[in-house]
Amino acid sequence: MISHVILRVLSKILIPLIMLFALYVQFHGDYGPGGGFQAGVIFGAGIILFALLFGLDEAKRAFPPRVLEILVASGVLLYGGVGIAAILAGGNFLDYDVLSHDPHHGQHLGILLVELGVGITVAAVMTTIFFTFAGRGRSDV
């Protein structure tokens, strides 16, 4: 753990902003640049910054690896689930038109959910990979 006061105080202010920005990129992807992948990476970077400054153990207490593992899988499942939901609603796999009464609403809903799935998976994967790298050689993972 690093005891630099300036870095820790600044990062305490910055990390919530980074995560808020990630959520903005996530849900504003339909209108501006960005989307699930970018949002996930930015969110993961926020967690990694937290882990770098406050130590791996503190980060693992805030983001338990067990929960991250579930999130890694659930993002992919959400993406696939939208595809299956489209089949059940009478369309093709990942055909969002049929998800709602109006094709445009269906497309909006489908893109939102799919991007959310990508975002969850990417954020959890980036964090898990960093935790695995940083925790290598320690048995308390």
Binding site: V41, G83, V118, T132, G137
Partner: protein, 191 residues
């Protein structure tokens, strides 16, 4: 003006690439790679590919730099190159492949050429019909998540697989330990 910016950015890219190759100190090399990614992101921004620039800045300059530093922490930060004697055949192979690649670029369409094959196939359909078919202002998102939903689905699966692979390769001992610890309460329960 934009050409000057291109030229400056490309020059910096080339300089940094050469510096990374020549450096023996891996820590400095990783830092230069981060700068390389940031410069690439600036180039993408100048080329109006903001989505790509976003990804490059976050992944290339951010996460991969941290992961490389973590790798250096696990190994060592000094490179020990093995000096072999001069070999003619590898040099010839590299020169031949390089010149073939450069020769191939003469056939490539100019940057931003509207008559390029890539802009003639499905791109016009995406540009014209996104508003009616998808109803999303950002065409990149529409292509990524809807028109090319299969591809993005595949990419997500690739990221998922990469995570599993890293966990199995690097977290092996920890994962085994955790399963061992999980079994202990059961054994106590039997007693």
């Amino acid at each position: 003006m934009i050409d000057v910016i291109h030229l400056v950015l490309f020059t910096f890219l080339a300089v940094i690439a050469v510096a990374v190759i020549r450096l023996k100190d891996l820590f400095a090399g990783v830092m230069l790679m981060g700068i390389f990614s940031l410069l690439s992101a600036s180039l993408f921004t100048v080329m109006d590919a903001v989505d790509v620039a976003f990804t490059e800045a976050a992944v290339g300059a951010g996460i991969s730099t941290v992961l490389m530093l973590a790798t250096i922490g696990l190994t060592e930060s000094e490179e020990h190159p093995v000096h072999n004697r001069f070999k003619l055949l590898p040099l010839l192979a590299v020169l031949l492949t390089g010149s073939a690649l450069i020769y191939a670029t003469f056939d490539m369409p100019h940057y931003g050429d509207p008559n390029a094959p890539i802009h003639q196939h499905v791109a016009p359909h995406y540009l014209e019909e996104t508003e009616h078919e998808i109803g999303v202002p950002n065409i990149v998102t529409a292509v990524l998540a809807s028109y090319r939903g299969y591809d993005t689905w595949g990419e997500t699966t690739v990221i998922f697989t990469a995570c599993i692979a890293v966990m199995m390769l690097l977290g092996g001992h920890a994962v085994v330990e955790r399963f061992r610890r999980r079994k202990i309460p059961d054994e106590e329960g039997i007693e």
